[in-house]
């Protein structure tokens, strides 16, 4: 394993930035391996929120007074940070929403305008419910048809089948960058290129990708890219939606309200320019500002270092897990990140989860909001562990011991 030894050396220092990592559960040191559900929050982010309410709190935009101006500035600074991070062309292309789910609904709702009966849209079998249900609702409203890119037993998408699904009726393709249930990194560059060749727009759900590696929307040439701050060391209640300006200008507004309008009369209202057009009402101001601080924190460590270190954890954990009797790992794509989903023998994942929870280990069990994947494997769910850069080899060792203990108890 080659990795940047500096990261490893600094890991104890990094862990000190996360107060929750030193809490105890049932008398045991917490081992948090549920990072795909939500990441933990460094002190700087927590302080940024306190600081906001102690010094700045005020409704943004349109305010004359200093507080309002300072808050507006900080809010817009956060937009600049995400613009830079994802390499968008302009801050108009970065919309703040309450989360990935909201962002996907915003886009799928907008596509009502562009779809008619028998048009086609393409999803993958690997999606989170948040990237399935909004589009099903779109199909119901428009009569469009949803096609599915199937996966193989390794949890990889079948691009050959994908090619046959595309045709001139295909209007939009929506696929996640990384599967939250299996950890598969999907070949989105190919998916984007093929979709564009067929004249379809592409939305990439990057909720599980953004925390783990660099993303360049310009290079990807993607139409929409969405993720959640709460998985990016930020607070809950903030989503980041990148959209190509051409698309965001064409899409109708999603919600009506303050900020998103230019002029209102009972006869007719006209909409504001980007990005305000999609940010109706008072946004999660403290959350957006703190999200920018979370992003800064991640960038201080560096996504290249993070990726390298997390890959190291992933490889180590995978090989250790394979030593457990009766283990079956779901998702064995060559390109994977952060996530391992598995079951042990016939034991119900929920039983394992309960036992190791009492040992202080936080993992997720169940269908992970990805029932189609569970249906594919014909299982009720899996145990899922997911890493962040603050996890350690030692934690994995404790996990392995706990799993062995649980497995013995439950068989």
């Amino acid at each position: 394993m080659i990795f940047n030894m500096n990261v490893l050396k600094n890991i104890e220092l990094i862990r000190k930035d996360f107060p929750i990592l030193s809490t105890k559960v049932n008398g045991n040191q917490l081992i948090y391996l549920d990072n795909a559900a939500t990441s933990q929050t460094p002190n700087c982010v927590i302080e940024s929120i306190s600081d906001y309410y102690k010094n700045l709190n005020s409704n943004i935009h349109r305010g004359v007074h200093k507080l309002s101006q300072l808050a507006t500035e900080k809010y817009e600074e956060s937009r600049k940070k995400f613009k830079k991070h994802f390499n968008a062309r302009s801050t108009s292309e970065i919309i703040f929403t309450p989360g990935t789910t909201h962002s996907i609904n915003l886009i799928s709702n907008g596509f009502i305008k562009f779809l008619k009966k028998d048009d086609e849209i393409i999803v993958s079998q690997l999606e989170h419910h948040s990237n399935i249900v909004p589009w099903q609702m779109l199909c119901e409203k428009t009569g469009a048809i949803m096609k599915v890119i199937p996966m193989n037993e390794k949890g990889e998408l079948d691009l050959n089948v994908f090619a046959t699904l595309l045709n001139d009726k295909t209007k939009v393709v929506f696929v996640n960058h990384v599967s939250n249930a299996l950890g598969t990194v999907n070949p989105i560059d190919i998916i984007i290129e093929k979709s564009h060749n067929a004249g379809a727009a592409v939305l990439i759900d990057g909720a599980q990708a953004a925390p783990h590696f660099e993303i360049d929307v310009k290079k990807l040439n993607v139409d929409f890219y969405v993720c959640s701050a709460h998985k990016l060391c930020g607070p809950t209640g903030v989503g980041i939606l990148y959209g190509k300006k051409e698309w965001l200008e064409k899409l109708p507004p999603y919600q009506g309200g303050g900020e998103m309008i230019d002029q209102v009369s009972f006869e007719k209202s006209t909409y504001a320019d980007l990005p305000n057009k999609f940010e109706a009402g008072t946004p999660n101001i403290s959350g957006v500002i703190a999200s920018g601080i979370g992003l800064d924190y991640i960038n201080k460590i560096g996504l290249t270092n993070i990726k390298e270190y997390e890959d190291y954890l992933l490889d180590y954990a995978t090989s250790k897990l394979k030593e457990i009797d009766g283990i079956k790992i779901y998702g064995e794509s060559k390109t994977k990140v952060s996530v391992i989903s598995f079951n042990i023998g016939e034991i119900h994942p929920y039983d394992i989860g309960s036992v190791i929870d009492n040992l202080g280990i936080a993992v997720r069990t169940g269908h992970h909001c990805a029932q189609p994947i569970m249906d594919y494997f014909d299982i009720p769910g899996t145990i899922r562990i997911s890493f962040s850069f603050y996890n350690t080899i030692e934690e994995i060792n404790i996990l392995i011991d706990a799993l062995k203990k649980a497995s013995k108890m439950l068989s």
């Binding site: 929920y350 039983d351 989860g353 309960s354 108890m409 439950l410």
Partner: protein, 139 residues
């Protein structure tokens, strides 16, 4: 035996174990001994919501007493089920309706069950009482 006596018996049994882990192990052992429920009674109608694991609960009345049959795909849940069946099966509706159900707290497992499971447990007890009410009205 009266419901409260059975409950006391269970509480005493669990008292032997000092750690949650030993209690869990005993619960799992009990779970293994739950008699199988017939497939026909594992119907959608008999599923109790609110658990990550599935729970089926079926009831019949024989000679004025209610017999409960239950199953789950998770073994810890099955252990809990075994306690409930032992307590409530073969009792008459009125006793079930009036029964106190805090013995689960007394065996010291509540804080070691996940909230979902504790919820599931509450739902199971609720359903057991509903059955008792329904059967008592059938009289």
């Amino acid at each position: 035996m009266k419901i409260s006596n059975i409950q006391n018996e269970i509480v005493e049994e669990f008292d032997i174990f000092d750690t949650w882990m030993d209690k869990y192990e005993y619960l799992i052992e009990l779970g293994k001994s739950v008699p199988k429920i017939s497939d026909q009674n594992k119907s959608e109608d008999n599923i109790i919501k609110g658990c990550q694991s599935k729970v089926w609960l079926h009831a019949e009345k024989e000679d004025g007493l209610i017999k409960f049959y239950a199953d789950s795909d998770a073994i810890i849940t099955k252990g809990i089920i075994s306690l409930l069946i032992r307590t409530f099966s073969n009792q008459n509706p009125t006793d079930i309706i009036n029964a106190n159900t805090d013995f689960i707290d007394k065996i010291g497992l509540r804080q070691h069950l996940s909230a979902n499971r504790a919820n599931g447990l509450n739902n199971m007890i609720k359903k057991i009482k509903y059955y008792a009410i329904a059967f008592s009205k059938l009289n």
